[in-house]
């Protein structure tokens, strides 16, 4: 369980979290959502608000993939080389390739590999679909299957930030809208369908309409 109690985070002048109180329950999968496309605008990536929860490292362009893996292994005692090996195959990455030679999509998959290889209580996955060609459904399926395969459900609390709602919806249990540093809405994804007959995307639209008109 992670409890945020009146947490405020400021980056420069902007508050990315403004007096937020929220409890992430152990073993659940949360989605922190923003409207589609807003990631490309001036809006900073949502995850930076929560970056203090994770220790997602950055990629070093001059490293090869296997050097990145070794580096993470040396930095994090919970990093599983075994999981990393499985993920290498799964994500179809070539261990001898240099980070600087990777496409955006490959870099995204490498980041995901590095995060998913850690056996931490909390996983923060920042925009797992970023850099992917919107037309390539297959790759998205691979990412979703990768998440389902490598997350330790029930043990790991997973927080996924994304602007791509439809892809991630079947994996999530709870969804949160974080806007201007405040949690403006929160729902259980299956209850939404069961009780209101709407998908998360529709729920998100409903909740954003108000905000945009304001």
């Amino acid at each position: 369980m992670i409890e945020l109690s009146h947490v405020t985070k400021e980056y420069g002048k902007r508050k990315s979290l403004d007096d937020v109180t929220f409890t992430f329950e152990k073993g659940k999968v949360y989605g922190i959502l923003g409207p589609n496309g807003s990631g490309k605008t001036a809006d900073r990536k949502i995850a930076s608000s929560l970056a203090f929860l994770s220790s997602e490292g950055m990629l070093y362009p001059s490293f090869k993939i296997d050097q990145m893996i070794d580096y993470f292994h040396s930095q994090y005692s919970d990093f599983s080389l075994e999981k990393a090996e499985e993920l290498l195959t799964f994500m179809e990455l070539d261990r001898h390739q240099k980070v600087s030679q990777l496409s955006k999509g490959q870099q995204g998959r490498l980041k995901l590999l590095l995060v998913l290889s850690r056996q931490t209580d909390v996983l923060l996955l920042d925009e797992p679909f970023i850099g992917l060609d919107p037309m390539v459904r297959m790759v998205r399926d691979t990412i979703v299957k990768g998440l389902v395969s490598f997350i330790d459900f029930g043990k790991q609390t997973v927080i996924i930030t994304t602007h791509e709602i439809t892809e991630i919806e079947p994996v999530l249990e709870e969804a949160i809208i974080l806007e201007k540093g405040t949690i403006t809405a929160h729902c259980n994804v299956e209850e939404l369908r069961e009780e209101q007959g709407i998908s998360m995307l529709e729920w998100l639209k409903n909740n954003f309409k108000k905000e945009e008109l304001a």
Partner: protein, 126 residues
């Protein structure tokens, strides 16, 4: 099993419906072992808790049986397949009739057109 889901129904019940349909069609045999929760979750691209609910619901309906330490199996009860088949039929007919009535067709007209369609009449096959 691809990850396309309708928005109006919980995902767990949509997967349950798919399994029932596969069973009725004969793609799943009585007594056949279903994939583990985790395996099924990966195949469907959904949260394993969703599959847990799917299997729970199917067990409640008597469609599957969970054997401790062995997994989840399609029921071997003789009457179940016939019963499910009838259930699906009734549901589909109810939905169809409701649709037709809402557009304004009389029962007599529905009856006639269905007969005609089945007999390969003018409203039937191209």
């Amino acid at each position: 099993m691809s990850a396309e889901f309708k928005t109006s129904k919980p995902i767990y019940s949509q997967i349950a419906e798919r399994i029932i349909q596969q069973f009725v069609r004969g793609d799943l045999a009585p007594g056949e072992k279903l994939p583990s929760v985790r395996e099924m979750a990966i195949q469907a691209g959904v949260n394993p808790n969703t599959i847990q609910r799917t299997y729970g619901e199917l067990e409640r309906l008597g469609v599957v049986e969970t054997k401790r330490g062995q997994g989840t199996f399609m029921t071997e009860e003789n009457d179940m397949k016939r019963k499910l088949r009838m259930d699906i039929q009734r549901e589909m007919i109810a939905a169809f009739i409701e649709n037709m009535r809402s557009i304004g067709f009389e029962d007599r007209e529905i009856h006639e057109s269905v007969n005609q369609f089945l007999n390969g009449g003018e409203n039937g096959h191209d």
